[in-house]
């Protein structure tokens, strides 16, 4: 953990410098607060960097985090795509497609076509109910595209 902490502390200090460089063109009233914050940020990051040398934490048993990063990255990419498609395919279509794909990915066992169709049907129903309540009844604007 110490190594990771140190790397992140260094990254934070770098970020602080980047932000500072962006304050040059501001008026007094505009830069005074951000600069104070950036200074505090940098100070705390430095402390975070130095701290492990002083605390006798010892090798803390890293609680095994069994998160499967592969799946997480794939899901993030999918969600990114989903958001991008919202304005193109419209809210209901892109959501039904993305939801079905996500559910299928998270499936533990067989990738039966029957299950997929069932999932798609369920989502279509859910989405239509959702759309009806929020868009038609409450008039909350939802992303629209070429379809709906």
């Amino acid at each position: 953990m110490t190594k990771i902490d140190r790397i992140s502390a260094a990254a934070f200090i770098l970020i602080a410098l980047v932000f500072w460089s962006q304050t040059g063109h501001l008026q007094y009233n505009g830069y005074i607060f951000p600069r104070l914050i950036i200074i505090m940020f940098a100070i705390f990051s430095v402390i975070m960097f130095i701290q492990p040398s002083f605390t006798k934490e010892g090798k803390k048993e890293q609680t095994a985090i069994k998160d499967d990063l592969k799946y997480i990255t794939v899901v993030i990419a999918l969600v990114l795509l989903w958001i991008g498609l919202l304005d193109v395919l419209g809210f209901i279509v892109s959501s039904v497609v993305s939801l079905t794909i996500l559910t299928t990915i998270l499936e533990h066992h067989r990738l039966a076509l029957a299950r997929m169709t069932f999932t798609t049907a369920v989502y279509i129903l859910l989405l239509i109910v959702f759309w009806f309540i929020f868009h038609k009844l409450l008039l909350v604007p939802l992303p629209t595209g070429y379809f709906i």
Binding site: N29, V75, T119
Partner: protein, 504 residues
């Protein structure tokens, strides 16, 4: 006043009005539970529907929605670690761990009882103590708001008790993010990297969804061996009354948090988002076992949920006496009052006393009715989340986060920001940063900055402009509170050790 109350009660206890209140409660609960839909939005959405009603009834519905919405935020906080409204940020700290242990229903019941209690206290203050309390609100000027923000910063130490330094780094990150956009004084454009959409800064709700919800959803996705999200507890017989007794024992916490909530609600510009964290902090400070907070104990939920519902009544106090909204949803209520020709102020209590007393009493009734409505909905929701397999739950949660962040400003950019912050939040979570301080920084940033710069401008009237922070009595009250909040834990430990030695 008494006959106005009598007339008001008569008006309320009709089938039509009671049904309207219940409908409003349902609507409010749903919008509250959905992350991304805030109380302000819920109230604003339903304003057109109230045009067709008479002003009193319109206000009654909006009031019910408002109260239930603040309460509803606890559902998603407990079940998926996402504050449904910013007022329930603190509820995630103890509510979610409780749910993970399989005590989700207990957590929801605690939140319900606490919310009802807090709501009632807030309305009682509203009914009986409005005029004197409102004048306190006016005494808070820019220097006081700045010191209040500093006081808020000291809360970070309680939230991140395991690693205080990381807490302060997180807080600084939050403050820094809050400066993105237009500077509140002077209108400079800051840190927008050329994106015009960022002129509006990072919306709090977007950050909440990103920092709290996405990491949980991604964790759900990543844990390939778990089929269900929350452990299912065995059927506990009589859980309703058991939990009720348990909550009612904590009168100290309940009352203190509700009073805090009412007072913070009175201050324009501060609302449930701050109240719940301040109340949580106070509960930690006075507790004999502060280290148990965050593991899933009732006190945490009681503090946050009672204070945030007390804000509802508190925020209306300056609204009806001075015409100054105490919290953002009150601004919408103000608009409704104006549109119907009801001008807030002493006039409201004399010429239109029927309207206002009926409204205040309806809040009372709505809060009490919140108990059955909330328990039914809460239990149902809990059961659904427990029984729904992750492969459905996680995608649906992601769906709700997208819709939630889109609906704030109808801006697809917010959804991208939400996702970015979500990934960042996941990384920070792995690096053992608690999201609480970050979000606290985000909330306090604008308040602190505005107070700071405005006060400096005020200070230009003085020989030394920095003295403005130190020459007002109310400022000193806040300064002392901040010092106490920061150093009390150390002092208490010292004192405890000191007594021990004396005894020997």
């Amino acid at each position: 006043m008494l006959d106005s109350i009598a007339i008001g009660l008569q008006h309320i206890f009709t089938i039509k009005v009671l049904l309207m209140i219940v409908a409003g409660l349902f609507g409010g609960l749903i919008t509250g539970a959905l992350p991304g839909l805030t109380a302000t939005m819920a109230v604003a959405l339903l304003v057109p529907f109230t045009f067709a009603m008479d002003p009193t009834e319109g206000l009654i519905v909006l009031g019910a929605i408002y109260m239930a919405c603040i309460y509803g935020g606890s559902f998603s906080a407990i079940l998926v670690n996402t504050p449904g409204t910013p007022s329930s940020i603190g509820t995630t700290f103890d509510g979610y761990p409780m749910a993970k242990k399989g005590e989700g229903e207990r957590a929801i019941l605690i939140a319900t009882f606490a919310s009802v209690y807090g709501g009632i206290i807030g309305v009682i203050f509203l009914l009986f103590l409005s005029p004197p309390l409102a004048s306190v609100a006016l005494k808070f000027g820019p220097p006081e708001y700045f010191w209040m923000a500093i006081f808020g910063v000291t809360i970070i130490a309680s939230l991140a008790s395991k690693n205080v330094i990381k807490g302060f780094v997180g807080g600084a990150i939050g403050f820094l993010i809050s400066t993105i956009g237009i500077a509140p004084i002077g209108g400079d454009v800051r840190f927008t990297a050329g994106f015009p959409e960022l002129q509006g800064g990072i919306e709090l709700i977007v950050a909440l969804i990103g920092f709290f919800c996405i990491p949980e959803a991604l964790t759900m996705v990543g844990q390939r061996d778990k089929k269900f999200h929350l452990a299912e507890a065995g059927k506990v017989r009589g859980i309703f009354f058991k939990t009720l007794k348990e909550v009612m024992k904590k009168q100290g916490n309940l009352f203190r948090s509700s009073v805090l909530g009412t007072f913070i609600g009175i201050l324009p510009g501060a609302g449930g988002n701050i109240a719940n964290l301040v109340a949580y902090n106070e509960a930690v400070r006075v507790s004999k076992k502060p280290e148990t907070f965050g593991t899933g104990i009732p006190d945490g939920i009681i503090a946050t949920e009672s204070s945030n519902n007390a804000v509802v009544g508190g925020g209306i106090i300056p609204l009806v006496t001075l015409g100054i909204p105490g919290a953002p949803p009150d601004a919408v209520l103000y608009g409704v009052l104006l549109l119907h020709g009801l001008r807030p102020g002493p006039e409201l209590f004399t010429t239109h006393s029927k309207v206002i007393y009926t409204f205040i009493l309806s809040l009372f009734v709505a809060t009490i009715l919140m108990l059955p409505v909330g328990v039914i909905c809460g239990r149902l929701l809990h059961r659904t989340v427990v029984r729904l397999p992750i492969r459905f739950l996680a995608p649906i949660i992601l769906f709700l986060t997208i819709i939630g962040s889109y609906s704030i400003r109808n801006n697809i950019m917010d959804v991208y920001i939400m996702l970015t912050l979500g990934v960042l939040g996941y990384i920070l979570k792995r690096l053992e940063f608690h999201p609480g301080p970050i979000v606290l920084g985000l909330i306090l940033g604008p308040i602190g900055e505005m107070g700071f710069v405005q006060a400096l401008l005020m200070g230009q009237m003085l020989p030394n402009k920095w003295m403005i922070f130190f020459n007002r009595p109310l400022s000193w009250v806040l300064i002392i509170m901040s010092l106490l909040s920061l150093f009390w834990p150390l002092v208490a430990k010292r004192l405890a050790k000191g007594w021990k030695i004396k005894e020997i």
